[in-house]
Symmetry: none
Subunit: 104 residues, 4 copies
Amino acid sequence: MPDHLAPDSADEAKKSRARQEADPESNVGGIAADRLRSFIDRIERLEEEKKALGNDIKDIFAESKSAGFDVAVLKQLLRIRKKEPAEVEEQESLLDLYKRAIGM
Amino acid sequence: MPDHLAPDSADEAKKSRARQEADPESNVGGIAADRLRSFIDRIERLEEEKKALGNDIKDIFAESKSAGFDVAVLKQLLRIRKKEPAEVEEQESLLDLYKRAIGM
Amino acid sequence: MPDHLAPDSADEAKKSRARQEADPESNVGGIAADRLRSFIDRIERLEEEKKALGNDIKDIFAESKSAGFDVAVLKQLLRIRKKEPAEVEEQESLLDLYKRAIGM
Amino acid sequence: MPDHLAPDSADEAKKSRARQEADPESNVGGIAADRLRSFIDRIERLEEEKKALGNDIKDIFAESKSAGFDVAVLKQLLRIRKKEPAEVEEQESLLDLYKRAIGM
DNA sequence: CAAGAATTATGAACCC
DNA sequence: GGGTTCATAATTCTTG
């Protein structure tokens, strides 16, 4: 987003304080606006980091593929490791049951 | 093609099995166990960090809610802020496409 | 319970009743096999039709390419046409959110 | 939309030809425009049908859930049925191999 | 045929 | 806690 739409922080701080008393109920243009901006900034920053980590993970999958590993199987393995062993077993036995029921 | 360049994954898999004797410690059933474990560890580590960031974000939403903000509105604001650059980009790519389509 | 609906064994009857009120004839390991098979058949049938439609669409793209149209541009046009109603909807929901946020 | 507001196809065809001569080089507003519109209409129609089928499938999953089946397992079963048996076996054995390699 | 984008499906979070 | 919406992951399709 372009910076020109955002007033600089010093001016904003002044305005915030000035208006805070004038319109305390809705807090529009007052300290609440600063607070809102702060929340948004913090969240967007964290989301950026999160995305970067996602890219790192993707890189490792590419690396493991180059090393000759089957990425689909690797992902399957990771999925299994995330689940509780009991859950894995339960789903497997249910799958077997369904298979037998339809004669597979 | 020189040997030191990476062969494709099928060849690599074959070579891995061929080399099993040469590197017995980390080889299990023709698989470079150490390498596999390393990939898995790295990925799981990064996923943990990613999840932690997700929790941080959730915390901020809770905080903003406590501060009196409407979380749903906040999220929609964030979504719009995220989408706008994407749309600018899209318009540009559409323009490029049209240019190419008419041979510019 | 009529005899002709009676399951083969007492154990089977218990399991059947515990899990569902199914026709015992079609019960395999406590699973209503006929019902399961029916669900699977119906889903696979619909997925086939869905895939066929996907192929039809692909054919039309090929046809439009033969007619001299730029397929990439065409696809982007379609994407935009699909997105516009979504945006209208979003604007409305955003408005609703703002209203709620200010207590209307 | 009421039918009386839509020009009938003969009228539309006449108009197309009338404009074709006016701008033959780029084919804008001429037959190519009609052709383009036709492609778009056909594709959008098919995509609608495709989406409807997707909804039908979703409904069946809901129905099977109500009947007491585990939807996740059901989907797993369908996925397996889609793959070639050889592929299924290969992936399973590879998974076992990886598991042993990391000592699971 | 590998890489990348696009669609589709799955899983998580939120509200009721 | 169950259904619904939204974010993330997986698959599919396309292009070079």
